[in-house]
Each structure stands twice: as C-alpha cells, then as structure tokens.
C-alpha cells in the first residue's frame, strides 16, 4: 500500500475565539486539550496541554498512548517496576453519542507479554474521562500505600484506598461511590482492580462500571504494582466541537447504518456467544486446549441456550449504544450468581467451556463472575485453566501441587476453583498467575509444547487453522496473540464487504476459500489493520463498525472532521491508523523483538484431527509466506520484521527512526 509523508498543517486558530475549559492556546475542537499526569511516588499532579500537532498525528487511544509510551519509557523498563507508566486515554469522539462510541484504552509496557501492551473497555468511562476535563491520564511512579485517583471537573486528587485494598472490584466500586456520596449509579464512572491486580497476576484486568473489562495484556497488574486501586471520573464539562449541526447529521446517519450491520440483531439477542455452536459446526471452535476444532457440548453453552434456559435475565449496554450486547445473568444454583457482575461473552464461553471440555454454562457464568470480581482477563484465565488440565493429564502438574484438586478435563469444580486460586495467587494459582508462557518455563518437561501463547499473551478463542488471516494476526500483533486486529476471514470472500474507498476492490478478492493465504488475502488484513487501529485511536467499538457492524468508516471520518474541523481525507484517516501500528512495532523493536517472535505455537501449525478443516495444517511455510507479504506491504524489513527508516519517515515518524538508528536497530 502506498503511503505518503505526513505533513502537519498550519494550525488555524481563527475559529477559536473562546477558551475551552481553560486550555491555553484556544480551543482544540473534539478534545478537552489537556492531559493529566499523576506521579504516585511523590503525589505530584500536573496538567499538560495536548498539542494540536500531536492530536492530529496520533488522534487518541492507541495512537496517543503509543506516542507517549515510546517517548517516555526507556527500553527494557520493568513492566511492574517504578518506571513503567499507565496511559488511560479516550478519543476525540469520546463524548459524542452514537452506537459504539463508548470505549477507552489502557496502555503500558505489558507484564504478560514481551513488550507493548494495550487493552480496551466499554461502559460509561470514556465520556466521563472527557467530561471530567481531560483526554488522557498518565500514571507514573509507585505509591507507598494503596491509593485511588479522583478526577472531577478539571481537578484531580489522590485519595487513600487502604480500606479497599484486598476487596473485589464490586466492593471497591460501590465503596468509592458511597465515599463520594453518589445518589445516581452513573454519576461517577469507576475503574478498579481486584485482588488479582493487587497480587500482580500477569493477566489481571482493570474492571469499570462493575462488569466492563480492559482484560488483555495485564494492565490490572500494572495498576497493582503502582498500588493504584482505582480511579473515578465525574463531571459535566462540554467537549468543544467544530460543527455541531454537521455532527448531528452524521450521528443520525449512524443510527441508520448501525441497523444494517449483519451482526447487530444477533449481538442483541444472543450476545457474542451466539456464534459458539456455529464455530463448532464449521470446525473452528477451540476445544481441549486447541487440540480439536469441534465440541459436542457447544449447543449447551451457546448464546441461544443462555437465553432459552433462563440463565439470561436481562441485557445491558454501554453509553449511547443501541446494540445491547452485554449479558445479565442471575441464578441461585448450582452456583450463586450476581446480576450486577455481568454475564459471559463468547471468548469467556469458549475459554472456560470448549477449551476446558466443559459444557456447563452455569460453571462458565460463575468463572466469568469470579474473574470480574478478582479482576482477571477471562481469555487468559481460561487458556491457563486448559493448560493446567493438560499438564495434569500429562503428569506435569500433580495432585500434590494442586492441594488435592483434580484437574480433569471438563471438571466444573476445577474450572471454578482454579479461578479462585489464581485470583488470590494461592497454591498452584501462584504459578498459574504467571500465565502459560512463564508457567511452562518453570514447569519444564515439555510444557512449552502446549503453552498456547504468542509473545507471552494467551491465544483467544479463534481457530487459525480455519481462518488463515487469524493465524497471521496472532503472529503479527504487537500486543501478543490478538483476535481484534482486523475482521476475520469469513467476511472477505464476496463483493458485499468490498470498499473501494479503503482500497478493497472486487478485482482483488481472494480465492473463495478460508484457507487462501495469498497476497490479496494479506492485503485485506493490512488495510483492515489500519482502519481498526484507527478505531482503537478513536476508541470506538468495532462491533458497530463495518464490516460486522453497519457504521461505515466514511461516516466515522465525517464525525471526526465535524468534531475537530480538520478536513482529513480517508487516506489521512488510514495513515493515522498505520502510524500507530508503526509506533507499537518500533516500541517492540526497541525491546528486542524480531521476526522470530512473530509466530504461532507449533500445535496450531499441525492439522486438526476433526471437523471441516481436519488434516489441513497451517504449516510454517504458509505463515512465512504471509509474513513476507505483510512486511512488504508495510515497508518493513522481511529479515527482522522491523520498521525501516523509509516506512517510519513515510509515516511522519523520523524521530522514531533516528532513535532506533542510534540503537543500531534499524535494518540496513
């Protein structure tokens, strides 16, 4: 894909005749124009102006966080040490009400992975970050005692959190709201960690609004290492926008478009778990720690069964979203569930279900709620439980090590109790709290062979042997194994989802097979990666965005321009996404990661024994071919997988190239 040098345009403040929330230099439309910096070591709280040049290039969320962390972290920073920083960011559309616009990012060097870490969550936090007066928070240092951060109407204070330490996320959030005297449950949006984050389980999540999780990459452990128990945002400040009338027109367009999304009705009715049995039927449901692709119990745990059984008692949603994909579950037996703590999504269903050969949806619901209360990523935790079961079967983990708990495949008791042990880092839970990569290294005896991770991060619940671009995605993602870098292969086999404005044209459609791995298929991945990276910088929910959701990128671009007044082109939009990918790749290059780390576990390269893809391997030759094409399309070096000076300069990142050059990390 051609890229062009990014030129920062002259700043035009001629329209900015008023001050926005006290920001020096005038209004930065779409933004509050301020970043809050909190040093927990010395309690110093400062406010910094968000420069327009930075906002235009890096947008928000992923892009802005990558810029801040690349600039401010030294290579080889201890992710759980004093020098790591947590960047919490909304996007420029953070308080504009349309379906899917409810997310924010948490980024830091990952304690779970080997370099870059990022995670996203929905709920009600994103607009509250903006309305509290800021676009982003930078958390640095380590507090001597547990604290929580309160941000309200442009002011911030660090408060004592001793009484919340050792408490669940539910207790913490309710406690903070009580402390603030809130009378409305949406007055303050609170994000917190549970015991898992405090004890630095490497895949600890940050939970917000009781049931929303920034699960992946161990951002909760970073909070725990800093003794930051929670943050809360309150406020009603207005985000200045360039053209309110135009913005409203685009918002109305969103209402029309979102209804056209092929997934929307199913997401509402059955949640993300609605596809569970479909994936099994097509031989692509991760089962028994990725040993199989079909699960005979799939119909017992799928979204439709959660509804028809009565386990589902309600549906919930994020701020401004009409999709209602969130699940509310409630039951008194066989496990006591709490309707406040959320219901299982697809990833959780498969991770604790088929992946552990467990067809009991109640035990999955319980494991999910325990994860939410302790603050654990359900994907990583489920994969860890599956790993432990296989290690137990092979005699690598013994009954003595588990304290008598039998980790047999399909054991409901094992699934639920292991979550308890991991959340508290008790017994075998202490080892498993390290994640499969580190646990396997400690266990030895061949455990590395079935530790399902990439770059230290556990593999999500999608089977790459039936979706080749998903295999590439697992290998290439800078945050480690990820299923959300681009939409999966199924969508890219017909003209329906081609979009010329994105460079996706029918004449370049891949062969009509999920097993295709040629250049056209990889090009689709690259284009989609750019626009989804932009979604992560705008911080919007891809469930509501093309292709699975109905909102077009041209509409998002229109909203961005109406909010900011920037007049960006679609090419600018895609380049901003690509720029953020170059930043995170440069971050990992600086950490010493190379092409050798862009791989998938050996098990995923071997053929499945069952289902529609039985006998068809995803061999190293296939992955190598896809990687070669991907690096070429990005202008990266095929030998090392690193960005080149040319690719960085084309992305407007000369200073990043200079820094890598000084470290002798730029390919010749």
């Amino acid at each position: 894909m051609p890229t062009s040098a990014y030129k920062v345009p002259e700043t035009d403040y001629s329209r900015c005749t008023r001050k926005a929330n006290g920001r020096k230099g005038g209004v930065l439309n779409g933004y509050m124009g301020k970043i809050l910096r909190v040093n927990l070591s010395n309690g110093r709280i400062t406010t910094e102006a968000l420069q327009e040049q930075v906002a235009r290039m890096f947008i928000g969320g992923k892009g802005l966080s990558a810029k801040i962390l690349f600039d401010e972290l030294e290579p080889e920073t201890d992710p759980l040490g004093l020098e790591n920083k947590l960047v919490i960011a909304a996007g420029p559309l953070g308080a504009v009400p349309f379906s899917g616009n409810s997310r924010f990012s948490d980024c830091a060097k990952s304690p779970l992975g080997m370099g870059w870490g990022e995670s996203y969550s929905g709920g009600y936090m994103a607009p509250k970050i903006k309305q509290s007066g800021f676009d982003a928070f930078i958390i640095e240092g380590i507090s001597d005692t547990p604290v929580w951060l309160y941000v309200n109407e442009g002011k911030a204070e660090v408060r004592d959190a001793s009484k919340y330490w050792g408490r669940t996320t539910l207790e913490t959030e309710n406690g903070i709201k009580k402390e603030l005297g809130d009378t409305d449950k949406r007055q303050t949006s609170v994000a917190s960690i549970g015991q898992a984050g405090e004890k630095q389980v490497r895949y600890a999540a940050i939970m917000n609004d009781l049931r929303e999780a920034a699960g992946r990459s161990g951002m909760g452990a970073v909070m725990g290492s800093k003794k930051l128990k929670a943050w809360g945002c309150k406020g009603s400040l207005k985000v200045p926008v360039h053209d309110d009338k135009k913005l409203r027109e685009y918002m109305r367009q969103c209402v029309t478009e979102v209804k056209k999304g092929p997934y929307i009705k199913s997401l509402h009715d059955y949640g993300t778990a609605g596809d569970t049995d479909d994936l099994s039927a097509s031989g692509r449901l991760p089962t028994k720690n990725f040993m199989r692709g079909t699960f005979e119990g799939a119909d017992k745990i799928t979204g439709e069964t959660i509804v028809s059984s009565g386990l589902l008692t309600g549906r919930d949603t994020c701020w401004a979203c009409s999709t209602n994909c969130k699940r509310v579950v409630d039951s008194k037996s066989p496990y006591l569930l709490d309707k406040e703590v959320g219901g299982q999504e697809y990833e959780t269903t498969a991770a604790f279900g088929s992946n552990c050969v467990n067809s009991d949806m109640y035990s999955i619901a319980k494991a999910n709620q325990l994860c939410n209360l302790y603050g654990l990523d359900t994907i990583s935790t489920g994969v860890v439980v599956g790993f432990a079961m296989e290690a137990y079967e092979r005699g690598i983990i013994t009954k003595e090590q588990t304290g008598g708990l039998e980790l047999n495949w399909g054991s409901l008791d094992a699934v639920v109790k292991l979550v308890d042990l991991i959340g508290n880092r008790e017994g075998i839970g202490d080892l498993l709290g390290e994640g499969v990569y580190r646990a396997a290294q400690k266990l030895g005896r061949g455990a590395e062979e079935f530790a399902m991770h990439v770059k230290g991060r556990e593999i999500p619940m999608h089977e790459p042997r039936g979706k080749r671009n998903v295999g590439l995605m697992y290998a290439i993602a800078d945050r480690g194994a990820c299923h959300m870098e681009w939409e999966h292969d199924d969508f890219w086999e017909s003209e329906t989802y081609m979009r010329p404005e994105l460079g996706l044209v029918a004449s370049e459609l891949p062969n009509r097979t999920l097993l295709d791995y040629g250049l056209s298929k990889v090009k689709i991945a690259k284009v989609q990666a750019d626009v989804w990276a932009m979604c992560n910088s705008l911080v919007v929910c891809v469930f509501d965005i093309y292709p699975g959701g109905g909102i077009e990128h041209s509409t998002l671009l229109g909203i961005l321009n109406a909010a900011t007044g920037w007049n960006m082109s679609m090419r600018d939009y895609m380049e901003a996404g690509e720029r953020s990918i170059n930043m995170t790749r440069a971050f990992n290059t600086r950490e010493g990661l190379t092409r050798d780390d862009d791989t998938i576990p050996k098990r995923l390269m071997e053929p499945l024994p069952d289902g529609a893809f039985a006998g068809k391997p995803f061999g190293p030759d296939i992955l190598d071919s896809m990687l070669d094409n991907y690096y070429t399309l990005r202008g990266w070096d095929k030998k090392t997988g690193s960005p080149t000076r040319a690719s960085l300069e084309l992305a407007g990142l000369s200073y990043v190239a200079d820094q890598l050059d000084k470290m002798n990390l730029l390919p010749n």
Binding site: G274, D278, H483, V542, A612
Partner: protein, 84 residues
Amino acid sequence: MSAIKVILVYLGQAREVAGTKEEQLELPAPAKIEQAISRALEAHPKLSELKENLKLLVNGQWAVSNAELKDGDRITLLPPVGGG
C-alpha cells in the same frame, strides 16, 4: 421417481431469517446441493440477501453447490462468523 430426504441446518443469521434451526426437505433423486438451496430460498425469500456470503457444509465437511446429495445428508448454511 425415487426421492431423498435431507436436512437443512441454518446457523447464525440464516437461522434468524429462516426462523428455524433446521428443517427436512424431500427432493427428487438425483439431487444437488443447489436444488436444496433453491428450495430454501423459495421457503425463506429473505435468505437471498445472505446467499452471496453463505458457506455450505454437508455432514460437517465443506461442499460446493453442484455436489450431489444422498439420502440423510445434513446441509449446513453458514453465514460469516467474525471475531469478538
């Protein structure tokens, strides 16, 4: 003329459109998958909106529309399944 009985299995969006998870069809033998799909489209016209994106499995294995059917076959209509 002999006939065969096959089962159509609707997944995901196809299930929503058809309003049923599966249904039995009787087709004159010999019959190909495309004949079964035509019958499904007649019974559920809105399925035509999905037709371009549907994948087909027969007895759990990928199949093409001109493949011949035999008595008792289960034909699965699978719309795109994405991430999330």
